[in-house]
């Protein structure tokens, strides 16, 4: 057997991915490169250019017209003849998607369709810094190979660019390699073990394994080839279960992070670790593969918040047209353009070659659109001891009502709770309200009131939501005064000052807010806080959850 590649070395993985992509091409869909700009990335991309020349480069800002093509209005006007521009997606070969983590759902959907038509390979350059910033799920499913270059330095450049032998031969021969039925079973077991549901990935892994075998000149795929393919395709996407026996005592705190299947209340808490262990025993993966550090972000079914709103002048509800340039990223309103041109016809020299209308650039009218952005309602829930004693149940009830309201309005919700010394994000923005409710049901209460920390966590979420194009609204539910300062000290004066500073910051950022006083008696301190927030204050001393909800929807609607 030829030199077995050490797939735990990221440089070797990168080189192998390049070779597989160059040989198998469309059969693996493409390559998902997760890396910030770095010298290694440069070298990687240069090598890629050598192996597989780029046919088209697409970015998040690429307009629909450039993608799908159509009549080139500018050129048609100039020549008086119909000039058609072919779109980038009409090309076959290697397409590159730059800043892939910022691609809109619409762009991702178009690329996915183009890939489904076959003959194309997509290289997605994902520069996401946070786990949430990543490739749209529809693309992640189609772009088979995954490479993460983070952690590789200048020293590894040579290892990445080192040419792989036998590419030409493999290109013609890989589709002849045999993939035994036995290995098909192994492949299916791998995917079950790793919890990979996407059947596309299995086919890509199969094609990649055949390519790896062809690269070493074999006519039949060996288990080692499949392992290499699995390291490029399956492992980064899987939930690699721990094989160490320690997993038998999972820490209870981390259990709630990922609410298991939506069945019953708290039924499946104990089921998870057992499942994992039996899986681990059933399919022993090569140990070297299991400690791979590179995993694809956003694994599992949760998407990259594809519901977030998109801004721009290309979609949404139409607004009146405005003068503008034909070449801007804008769409021409032909009727308004003609209308603008008509009054001048007598004054202008006659249009050439019998064209009915003489158009000037100044006549061009551009369409404008308005797209309403999504709203993210961020609940900051006080779970301190006093709240727990007084009205935790009511507060929970109120949030539930608000959640129904959010459902009706198709808002997203997020949730932060604060108690003791710190705040924690219970739920990142989501539309899955069942998860929100589960987060709330499991919310423990007790301890002091670190109001400033709660507001701080809420404002971080608000800024993230805004960066994603949504409009954040913060709803604070509390019953009283802050008594824990930002640094964790129990000092009422400083705590109040910190809370006020946090509130002012939120107000300065222009985030809408609402303070719900859930205490038995209205608290003056909360009213002051609401003023600092420049938000509404609603004291609901004896209100029932339903009335509270009505008050809040009224406040949100205004």
């Amino acid at each position: 057997m030829a030199a077995a590649a050490d797939m735990s070395d990221p440089a070797v993985r990168a080189r192998m991915a390049l070779a597989v992509l160059a040989v198998a091409g469309p059969a693996v869909g493409g390559l998902w490169l997760r890396a910030r700009p770095s010298p290694v990335r440069e070298v990687f991309l240069e090598t890629l250019d050598r192996l597989l020349p780029e046919a088209a480069r697409i970015g998040p800002e690429t307009e629909d017209f450039a993608l799908s093509g159509g009549v080139d209005v500018g050129a048609s006007l100039a020549t008086g003849q119909r000039v058609l521009a072919p779109g980038l997606l009409a090309r076959t070969g290697r397409l590159t998607l730059a800043s892939a983590e910022r691609a809109s759902p619409a762009l991702a959907a178009r690329l996915a369709q183009a890939l489904d038509r076959g003959g194309r390979v997509l290289v997605a350059l994902d520069e996401g810094a946070e786990p949430e910033e990543t490739l749209a799920p529809g693309l992640a499913a189609r772009v088979g190979l995954f490479v993460d270059l983070d952690g590789l330095g200048m020293r590894e450049c040579d290892a990445v660019s080192e040419p792989t032998a036998g590419l030409e031969k493999a290109r013609s021969g890989w589709s002849e390699t045999r993939f035994s039925g036995e290995l098909e079973t192994v492949l299916a077991e791998y995917s079950t073990f790793l919890g990979i549901d996407e059947s596309r990935h299995l086919l890509v892994a199969r094609a990649a394994a055949r390519t790896v075998a062809a690269l070493r000149g074999a006519r039949e795929v060996a288990r080692e080839d499949l392992d290499i393919a699995a390291a490029l395709v399956l492992l980064p996407r899987g939930q690699v279960p721990d094989v160490q026996p320690e997993v038998e005592e999972p820490e209870p705190e981390h259990q709630d992070d990922r609410p298991s299947e939506d069945e019953g209340e708290n039924s499946s808490d104990t089921g998870v670790p057992e499942d994992r262990l039996t899986g681990a025993e059933a399919v022993p993966l090569p140990a070297a593969l299991l400690d791979l550090s590179a995993t694809a972000p956003g694994r599992g079914a949760h998407g990259a918040g594809a519901g977030a709103a998109l801004r721009g002048t290309t979609r949404g509800r139409p607004l009146p047209s405005r003068p503008g340039h034909a070449n801007a990223r804008a769409r021409i309103d032909p009727v308004a353009t003609l209308r603008a041109a008509i009054p001048w016809q007598r004054l202008r020299p006659p249009a050439p070659r019998g064209q009915p209308v003489a158009l000037r650039p100044s006549d061009i009218r551009i369409r404008r659109f308005e797209e309403r952005s999504d709203r993210v309602v961020i609940f900051a829930v006080d779970a301190s001891g006093s709240q727990a004693m007084a009205r935790m149940a009511e507060a929970k009830g109120a949030v539930e009502c608000l959640l129904s309201e959010a459902y009706r309005r198709r808002d997203q919700v997020a949730m932060v709770s604060f108690r003791g010394r710190e705040a924690e994000v219970l739920l990142a923005p989501t539309r899955a309200l069942v998860r929100a409710r589960n987060a709330l049901v499991g919310l423990p209460a007790g301890g002091a009131t670190p109001l400033a920390a709660g507001l701080g966590a809420a404002s971080v979420l608000a800024m993230q939501a805004r960066a994603a194009g949504a409009t954040p609204v913060v709803v604070l539910l509390s019953d009283g005064r802050a008594n824990i300062a930002l640094d964790g000290e129990a000092d009422r004066t400083r705590a109040a000052a910190d809370a006020e500073t946090a509130a002012r910051r939120l107000a300065a950022a222009g985030v809408e807010s609402l303070v719900l006083d859930t205490g038995r008696r209205p608290q003056a301190a909360l009213e002051v806080l609401a003023q600092a927030l420049r938000g509404r204050y609603l004291a609901l001393p004896f209100a029932r959850a339903k009335e509270m909800s009505a008050a809040v929807s009224a406040a949100l609607d205004s």
């Binding site: 809109s104 762009l107 991702a108 299916a188 996407e198 290309t314 032909p334 959640l403």
Partner: protein, 345 residues
């Protein structure tokens, strides 16, 4: 799938996913059922199934060059200036509606080219025109923008696309079976749109190794040994086609006894499903099922089989209650008609 001249994956070769396949077959038997919504994991063959089904159906006759696939020359819209009266055979159209498609691409709009170059006011048909008499497939339907959804609802309801914009006043037939797919974890679907789909089914990835192996094998066979793979499945697809055609013919002859109507109403009342649409769809799909199975009349077993796909997505739902609607339906059916006997009931 591919535009490199290959036939779509054969419908009969899709492994498992019986609910989805049955729902699609029934809409092919009776398009009035009103579309299928497929919710579930990625890569479970949703889009493959739509394309496969269209390829399975017999070709439709259309007037050559007609933008809305009219069957007779007199049905061609005036604006189309079709000219030809020749009728040609075309495969049943499957039109993809991509996310982010603009309103004018969907409904059609002023033909900019002709407006600017020739100064003529002409209509450039959109996706709805092309989908007439075929399928309109929306992947990730739950992520579709609201204004497009509103527009689709309107057209799906009336069977006609009306364009009143930019000085144009155009209408044309747009009767299509709406097939939507999506992953509910990425966004809920508005109840109005949900209700517009006749049947809704959930699909899951197979989680046993044997089924997965079979998926890999068939897909690999399709990709790598295309010719012989298609030959192997041609017979099964042919049988299915004739069964669908026979069911189409037999559909009008399926009797609907009063007992079935009463059962139908009882199910809907017990479940408190909103509106008559659910009841009608349940009856229609049960009739189509009876025709498909070669039965002379609608029986309780047919209604039972179709209750979940026809009503599951229409139940008034507490967004915070995650008890599946399937469970609720099964419970109600059990209370009404006694426990399930067998699958072959």
């Amino acid at each position: 799938m591919s535009d490199l001249g290959r036939q779509p994956f054969p419908f009969s070769a899709i492994v498992g996913q019986e609910d989805m396949k049955l729902a699609m077959i029934l809409t092919a038997i009776d398009p009035k059922i009103g579309g299928v919504l497929v919710f579930g994991d990625r890569g479970t063959g949703k889009s493959t199934a739509v394309r496969a089904l269209a390829a399975l159906l017999p070709a439709i006759k259309v007037v050559e060059g007609c933008p809305v696939n009219s069957e007779n020359p007199e049905d061609c819209p005036d604006w189309a200036e079709t000219g030809s009266k020749r009728r040609v055979k075309r495969p049943t159209p499957v039109i993809d509606l991509p996310l982010g498609a603009t309103e004018d691409r969907v409904t059609g709009a002023l033909d900019i080219e002709r407006a600017l170059v020739h100064g003529e006011k002409a209509f450039e048909p959109g996706l709805l025109a092309r989908a007439n008499r075929g399928y309109l497939y929306i992947d990730e339907v739950n992520l579709l923008e609201d204004h497009i959804v509103d527009l689709l609802l309107d057209v799906a309801q009336s069977g006609e696309n009306v364009v009143e914009r930019e000085g144009l006043s155009i209408r044309h037939a747009a009767r299509f079976v709406l097939v939507g797919s999506g992953n509910p974890e990425e966004g809920e679907l508005r109840p109005q749109l949900l209700d517009r789909f006749g049947l809704a089914v959930d699909v899951r990835s197979p989680n046993d190794v044997a089924t997965r192996v079979e998926v890999i094998r068939r897909r690999a066979g399709y990709e790598e040994d295309h010719e012989s793979f298609m030959v192997r499945w041609r017979k099964a697809d042919g049988r299915l086609r004739s069964r669908i055609l026979k069911a189409r013919e037999g559909l009008s002859g399926v009797a609907t006894p009063d007992a079935a109507l009463e059962d139908c109403a009882a199910i809907c009342i017990a479940l408190g499903s909103d509106g008559l649409r659910g009841e009608l769809t349940l009856l229609r799909s049960a009739r189509a099922l009876a025709a498909y199975e070669g039965d002379a009349e609608v029986s309780r077993a047919h209604l039972r089989r179709m209750a979940v796909p026809a009503l599951g997505h229409r139940l008034r739902r507490d967004p915070l209650d995650d008890t599946g609607s399937d469970t609720r339906i099964a419970r109600s059916l059990g209370e009404l008609f006694g426990p399930y006997q067998t699958a072959a009931e």
